[in-house]
């Protein structure tokens, strides 16, 4: 697994100024490989969402660099960033963030249209993706007519629209009940195994640990430790208390 998809070097992100300055990220360096399932864990305010935003090209670092597929995100223009987000990265959010005025299918096909795909082709692929997440029957429903779990499934299908290198999931189970959360984790894991999608997930859901190949622990804006799943199994019951 030498193929690096994401590399960050000494990433620093500062919010506010002067007295109120907060170093949300304080020198984070890491590498994520193609096909991996990585969970970024840490307490609220530890900087995991900020790291998520950096890797996703949603925000730029104040110092250091973020490389996605060997492209330095900080060097990209707004248009190039839009291109990167469209083709290389799929996003899943805690609050689902579907476009409320469009149907499930339209939500899934929108990124394809941005990528220049023909509408017929996009509809066909959209239905295929909705089938993949088990929602082909509800393609014409708008988000407010779907349950939380179903909305998150649509969001996952949408994230896969342009066959991205990375799928970024920010607390994907945060707004879901235990069982639905588990289903979503299983779905993500299945997509990771079957489609080879790299999944990076910021979370403090302990259920996520079992699905992950590696776990990055973030504390006070720094990468405190990296665990592999093998290491984790040995520690179950001792260290895995809720942060």
């Amino acid at each position: 697994m030498a193929d690096v998809v994401v590399r960050t070097t000494n990433v620093v992100k500062v919010y506010g100024m002067g007295e109120a300055e907060v170093r949300a990220l304080n020198g984070v360096s890491c590498e994520i490989y193609r096909g991996e399932y990585v969970s970024i864990m840490g307490p609220s305010g530890s900087g995991k969402s900020t790291l998520f935003n950096m890797i996703g090209g949603l925000d730029k670092p104040d110092e250091g660099s973020v490389f996605v597929n060997s492209v330095d995100i900080a060097q990209l223009t707004a248009r190039e960033l839009a291109f990167l987000r469209c083709h290389t990265i799929g996003y899943i959010f805690q609050t689902f963030n579907l476009i409320t005025v469009r149907t499930a299918l339209e939500n899934v096909t929108l990124p394809m249209l941005f990528a220049g795909m023909q509408p017929d082709e996009a509809d066909e692929r959209g239905m295929m993706l909705l089938d993949l997440v088990g929602l082909q029957n509800r393609y014409h429903h708008r988000p407010n007519e779907l349950s939380g779990g179903q909305q998150q499934r649509v969001a996952i299908a949408r994230a896969l629209a342009n066959n991205p290198s990375i799928v970024l999931a920010d607390e994907p189970t945060g707004n879901l009940d235990l069982r639905t959360g588990k289903e979503i984790i299983e779905l993500l894991r299945r997509l990771n195994k079957e489609q080879g999608v790299t999944i990076i997930s910021a979370t403090h859901d302990l259920k996520m640990l079992d699905a992950s190949d590696r776990i990055f622990h973030i504390r006070d804006g720094q990468l405190a430790k990296i665990e592999t799943r093998e290491e984790l199994t040995l520690q179950v019951g001792s260290v895995q208390g809720e942060d």
Binding site: R79, C86, F114
Partner: protein, 199 residues
């Protein structure tokens, strides 16, 4: 080459905007689904333009007969109505963009360029502006025609149509101008910041 490899092909980057109909559909969907909210915006435009159209029709009707003093007063009234209209429309448009920061952030995550977002808002504003100002000018000019008719004067059909045309043009332009600044500002926001905004 690995089909999953998505290193940026620089030559394609220039052409990332989807065709205009994608923006058109997005704008239409937004108007359809938020019908009541958009109707209120439309009504705001209509009221402002109705005031403008009524004063303008009065000017048309009195163009020949009015004393210079009256003409000046009417001009002043038209200017006031325009300012009122602009404030109302700008307020509606600012609100309509502000309450959708999150949607804008999400669409940016899906790969929309800044230009696409501005386009969607401009199409929406133009449509709302068109409906609001045609309605508003008809109401304003119509009511003033009735008042004039009671007084025994009239601006004639030509004057009426002229006022409706002018009202519509002014209304549409004003709505687009009012929408464009907040839309550009929202589109330029980093996606992460747009997603964080709570309204």
């Amino acid at each position: 080459m690995d089909p999953r490899s998505t290193a940026l092909p620089t030559k394609e980057i220039k052409n990332t905007d989807p065709p205009l109909w994608v923006a058109w559909h997005q704008a239409l969907a937004s108007i359809r689904v938020r019908f009541v909210r958009q109707a209120v915006t439309c009504l705001g435009v209509a009221l402002g333009i109705a005031f403008f159209a009524s004063i303008q029709l009065l000017r048309e009707a009195q163009a020949a007969s009015a004393e210079p003093q009256d003409a000046a007063r009417l001009k002043w009234l038209v200017a006031t109505s325009l300012v009122m209209c602009l404030v109302g429309v700008t307020n509606s448009m600012l609100m309509s963009v502000a309450e959708r920061y999150r949607e804008i952030g999400t669409i940016k995550c899906l790969g929309a360029s800044d230009g696409f977002i501005v386009k969607v808002f401009c199409i929406e504003a133009a449509l709302l502006g068109l409906i609001g100002s045609v309605g508003g000018s008809l109401i304003g000019a119509g009511l003033m025609s009735i008042v004039l008719a009671i007084d025994g004067s009239s601006a004639g059909w030509e004057g009426f149509l002229k006022v409706v045309g002018l009202g519509t043009l002014v209304g549409v332009l004003m709505t687009i101008v009012a929408a464009i600044a907040p839309a550009i500002q929202a589109a330029r926001m980093p996606a992460a910041a747009a997603l964080r905004v709570e309204v």
